[in-house]
């Protein structure tokens, strides 16, 4: 879902840059929460590794029936691990590195960070939080609640990001709006299954191996 340069019109590009930068500035101040713990210094190399993992996964395309492929976006995954505001900054940095290799444009970076970081990360996180409120009323184990919520949140957020990406392309006049929305959503209904599975597997593994690395337990109501 990496928009290239020259696809979006200037107004759409600028509006999405403004939204993304505003959210990132807000996120910059909000993320200080994760550094409040005494051993928070240990988190920094971990954030570096997580960013590298997201870079790797976004780079690797898995096949989808019909001659198309998909790759992990990772917004919801990062937001469940580190919090919604950090995820926008992590995704923005990953997308910046990718643009150095020509994967996604530089002028389209604001739009890409909006789709993958804000929709995938922040909206994805609040979908997970909403689902956790429902699952917290059940007798499922903590790991299962978070894992299932992450899978569903990642899936819904990816389809939502595809819908908005289709609207952005349609607004820019590159291809007809209805076509852009319907085809983007159709393919991402399939691609989202991979996103959900990978995100859920990683979260489940962390919860089993080192649950304190998930910094959002309190926000999700599992502590």
């Amino acid at each position: 879902m990496h928009l290239p340069d020259g696809l979006l019109d200037p107004i759409t590009t600028i509006v999405l840059w403004v939204i993304t930068v505003t959210v990132m500035i807000f996120g910059y101040f909000r993320m200080s929460k994760i550094f409040e713990k005494e051993d928070s210094e240990k988190l920094i190399p971990y954030i570096g590794v997580l960013g590298a993992v997201i870079f790797t996964f976004q780079f690797i395309n898995y096949p989808v029936p019909g001659g198309t492929s998909g790759h992990l976006i990772g917004g919801t995954l990062v937001s469940v691990i580190l919090g919604p505001w950090v995820s926008v900054i992590v995704l923005f940095l990953v997308l910046t590195v990718q643009s150095l290799f020509g994967d996604g444009g530089l002028t389209a970076l604001g739009a890409n960070a909006f789709n993958m970081g804000i929709i995938g990360g922040i909206i994805g996180f609040y979908i997970v939080k909403l689902l956790m409120m429902v699952f917290n009323k059940t007798k499922l184990s903590k790991q299962l609640k978070v894992t299932i919520s992450t899978a569903l949140g990642a899936y819904i957020s990816i389809v939502l990001a595809a819908l908005l990406c289709g609207i952005e392309i349609g607004l820019s006049g590159s291809i007809p709006m209805i076509f852009a929305i319907s085809v983007m959503v159709y393919w991402h209904l399939l691609i989202g299954i991979g996103e959900a599975a990978i995100s859920a597997l990683i979260v489940f593994y962390i919860l089993k191996a080192k649950p304190d690395l998930i910094t959002t337990g309190e926000m999700l109501g599992v502590e």
Partner: protein
């Protein structure tokens, strides 16, 4: 996580266009015509590392740059917070 990443590299790589590329290709005549349309989109940005063609080299360099960038920015944020 690294094991999963490696598994994907070895197992299920696909060179087919992704969902967005497929949408753009199909929306602009399909097949080669659509791919040419994407390749000809105007851009003022010349990606400085685009000359690297090998996927594994791109992956390795990208991982290193991403790690350094993340580590640097978040470390700086923490130091600033402590000073404040």
């Amino acid at each position: 996580m690294l094991a999963l990443s490696l598994g994907f590299v070895v197992g299920v790589l696909s060179s087919d266009p992704d969902g967005l590329e497929r949408t753009l290709i199909d929306g602009n005549g399909g097949g080669e015509e659509g791919e040419t349309w994407i390749d000809n989109l105007p851009s003022l940005w010349n990606p400085p590392l685009e000359f690297i063609a090998n996927d594994y080299v791109i992956g390795t360099i990208g991982i290193v740059i991403t790690f350094i960038l993340m580590f640097g920015i978040f470390r700086l944020r923490m130091l600033l917070k402590r000073k404040a």
